[in-house]
Symmetry: C2
Amino acid sequence: RIALPVFASDALSSVAYAPDEIFIMLAIAGASQYIWSWKIGIAVAIVMTAVIMSYRQTVHAYPSGGGDYEVATVNLGRTAGITVASALLVDYVLTVAVSISSGANYASAAIPAFQDHEALIAVILVLVLMAMNLRGIRESGTFFAIPTYLFMFAILGMCAYGLLQALGGSLPQAESAGLDITPRPGWEEPLSTFGLIVLLARAFSSGCAALTGVEAISNGVPAFKRPKSKNAATTLLLLGLIAVTMMISVIVLAKQIGLRYVDPHELSRLTMNGAPVPAGYDQHAVIAQIAEAVFHNFSPGFYFVVTVTGIILVLAANTAFNGFPVLGSILAKDGLAPRALGARGDRLAYSNGIVFLALMAIILIVAFDAETTKLIQLYIVGVFVSFNLSQLGMIRHWTRALETERDSAVRRKIYRSRTINAIGLSFTAVVLVVVLLTKFLAGAWITVLAMGFFFAVMKGIKGHYDNVERELAADETDKALPTRVHAIVLVSKLHKPTLRALAFAKATRPNSLEGVYVSVDEKETARLLEEWDDRNTGIPLKVLHSPYREVVKPIVEYATAIRRANPRGVVAVYIPEYVVGRWWEQFLHNQTALRLKGRLLFTPGVMVTSVPYQLRSSGIALEREEREEHRVRPGDLRRGRVAQDRDRQVPRS
Amino acid sequence: RIALPVFASDALSSVAYAPDEIFIMLAIAGASQYIWSWKIGIAVAIVMTAVIMSYRQTVHAYPSGGGDYEVATVNLGRTAGITVASALLVDYVLTVAVSISSGANYASAAIPAFQDHEALIAVILVLVLMAMNLRGIRESGTFFAIPTYLFMFAILGMCAYGLLQALGGSLPQAESAGLDITPRPGWEEPLSTFGLIVLLARAFSSGCAALTGVEAISNGVPAFKRPKSKNAATTLLLLGLIAVTMMISVIVLAKQIGLRYVDPHELSRLTMNGAPVPAGYDQHAVIAQIAEAVFHNFSPGFYFVVTVTGIILVLAANTAFNGFPVLGSILAKDGLAPRALGARGDRLAYSNGIVFLALMAIILIVAFDAETTKLIQLYIVGVFVSFNLSQLGMIRHWTRALETERDSAVRRKIYRSRTINAIGLSFTAVVLVVVLLTKFLAGAWITVLAMGFFFAVMKGIKGHYDNVERELAADETDKALPTRVHAIVLVSKLHKPTLRALAFAKATRPNSLEGVYVSVDEKETARLLEEWDDRNTGIPLKVLHSPYREVVKPIVEYATAIRRANPRGVVAVYIPEYVVGRWWEQFLHNQTALRLKGRLLFTPGVMVTSVPYQLRSSGIALEREEREEHRVRPGDLRRGRVAQDRDRQVPRS
Ligand SMILES: [K+]
Ligand SMILES: [K+]
Ligand SMILES: [K+]
Ligand SMILES: [K+]
Ligand SMILES: [K+]
Ligand SMILES: [K+]
């Protein structure tokens, strides 16, 4: 049960902006259209129920946590899988952008000084989240549970209290209740039937923002306690109930307080006594206005509601920071993303994903000036693409199960599951069409473009990996194996690292062994030759001449020459490498060695051996590496790797 | 002679802003103090003559082109050398900032649309210069010669023509001639003697901005034709004459046209009929106002003068982009900068220097809003620190020469040289004191701080290199040499790269050889084992188990275990490495290999061999590398590496 909060925050937080969108859309034709608000809410609730019932099937059939991506890939093929992956990647970015922008708007409802600075606050919040996730925070059950339960308590409690007041006739009106709404040009009364249908379609598709986040639980099944699927399915059910209840309550109460709410970009359509509201009028979010009215003589109540709403939005954004790298690693395993993302423990890969996500979200927030309404136009289409493909995949899954299943009791269950998924699919298909029709020009084209970009990149990466695999596939050609090894040791100075490299090279007993020194200065060369003779290593020293202190070219040419003279041999180049501890020391050493190695790698028949010499400071770096291995990684919890219900540090097994 | 232009642009360009500074400073006490302008000019000319005579000694004594840094280090010791190096580094940054800012101001004199956007124009210019230098442009003699000669012709011609008109009584007044200048508070008439001395001191120290760039020739002696030192000395003389003539002419002519010129930050002190000039009054630079007046009925003349002035300023900035990396490589050779900067042909190191220089200059330009006057307050102190230490070093040089020289004719010459340097030193010492006193609070403290920062960094780097050298110095301990080699080959898949690594490892005939495979997935492991048996390499395969797809840790532990069991042996780890051609392919491969190698390097007794497998795309990268080697590097010309007097591409020897 504790897993509810971690995965619920994304879905529950949608109630912080979905009702607002419904009112904004209806207001296009004036406040009189608000009578449709609760009916739209019911329609959205129906779709949400269908989707949730659908996902209950998914969590039973796919308990590995692959989510929509796995369902689509396994049942519909690679292309459908990549489509879903693109949609999910975009969805993660928008979850951050929308949730944080909404959070910033709630913050400025509580703190008037923040007005007009929402974009800046949103960017700062994203950076803070990014920094925390880079450091590594536990997706701890308790840490998430408390704010989530508080949020549920706050909204449901506020609505209950408000309804009580309304029944008793003592519910005040909203601060915006005295205003009128001028319809947009062309939308004045009386509305044609067609116009009304379009209006309701737009409001409905906007209201479907309430469904964003529902899919999260299917990604997190491994994190539940056993029986995992059953618990996940139960959690989904509870989630659905609570989310639907909250949304309907908010809509009903908003009507009760006589709210007037329009697109924040068109505040001039709000009029008081015929004149538009003054510039600087701050339109508060629906939940904020409700809280103001309900707690009109108890301001701590208002601040409490607004605060926990802000917190749940931040938690929702945080789930994206956890989920994005996990998705990246799944895609990497399938060859759709750089293989390095698939390796657990690769802190760099995870960090790259986190930074990339934060950067994309910040770009969106700045481009849209943290206007939640505008960002939501981009948000919904991606989610519903996933919904559709996921449910289509499930239908295919059940159909294939029917081909092999003989037990009639199980077959009946399969039929039932398939029907549920089919109903869900029909609903989400309709919604997807409505969303595309009503929102494409309003911003959904950006999402489609972004999805197309990710799709192309992933296909490109997969194509590349496939090509490389073919190129490298071992065939039956019995290539002649090399038989001789000619070793050369790079000598720049005669110090411990060089002596070690000579010793290691000698230990391999190559067919030929010599030191190679590039001469740039006559005096230095003479001095080195003297030292070499004194040391009496028994190894000959080859001196290459080079003008301009060019070190790499002469050595590469020499290695190539050896190879040409011995086509059946291999040239082993031994390069001393300083192992240092502090980050800035990297710039002071090994640069030449790196360039030389990079250049040598192009030469066939050559292998390059690094002989490390650990400087004292390397101990620092070693400790740092070992600390790193015990750090918490994003996604640990949802992959079931951390003991749940515990908040203290548990050493990883 | 062709070398004059390349090294002269920095010094000659100073006439584009030095006279302005003199007038600004004198204007503090009102326009009546302008009577001192030509006397200040004479004083600056005297100092310049002394400095130039001094440098003529330097180019004879140090024909290697080490410049002030070499003189200070050789004669005064490491600390003095680092001080000069810090001053030079700061000087390069300010050369760019001042020259480009001044250029932007001239541009907006010619194109009024640029007014108030000088900072943006300056930043764009810096970026363009940076891009060109990253690409690699030849410091071609002819390319530099033409604008430099044009500039000399333009200024001298303009002044000559202007004087002619003045003598004939037909010289118009400047556009600013009708204005009055309100003195700064506290500087009104009558001026106390002390106040006058302070005023003249400030004007004199500002006028010494004319000396910036004189030292450049000492850095470029190798670029002259033989006899190098004699030609360099002659060039210095010519340069001095021309520069002094230009500066005096400009000052005299400025007075003739009745110029009124104040600190651009205090334009309100310019009054017309008692009232300050309107906001938006655009004060043009002195040379621009002179050109306007002299060419009052021939506007092409005005545009010509302003244009070539702008061009010479850009060329002056470009000398910094060439000199900065060269200085970096000299410092690297002495262990004061990362060793990588010292290697010729390291495009990355040069590129880093160019980008760093551009970035620092841009920061200054933005911070000071491209206000040349403000930036000059930072500029002069660094240059004069170099002058002082350089001449002090020369005095020491001559003194030491006297100790060994017996020939009396030569001794007389040495005495003469030493006296010249001593006179120069006394002048520049006085100027340095005056500059510090008059400009410290005005901005020179920033320069001092920056110099201190560079000083600390270089000392730190030197200290580090010295420590490392001590730590690594080969001693007499006859460490037991390893005798056995245990080779393990990293096997991830059984494809060509792996087979090659196995073959190469086998060719070295180690004492023990086995493949190592980390098992993350049971099915994959079983498949690989089957392939391995089929292939019958005769090499055993060790399977390491790892949960969570963690590849690095098991291998490191295994290698450590082998080492522990065989303390007198060395473990050779063979890692297949894909050699790719396109930049983005790097992210898709080798990441695990890199991490593994990095981790293994901390383990004593282990060496890591990369066995490259060249993918087809690697050919692209190879061609790119080979093109790179023939590219022109910054500083080629001044290091005498490019045939002079030629503008066509000459393949490097
Ligand atoms: K959401
Ligand atoms: K989401
Ligand atoms: K090195
Ligand atoms: K200069
Ligand atoms: K300079
Ligand atoms: K790899």
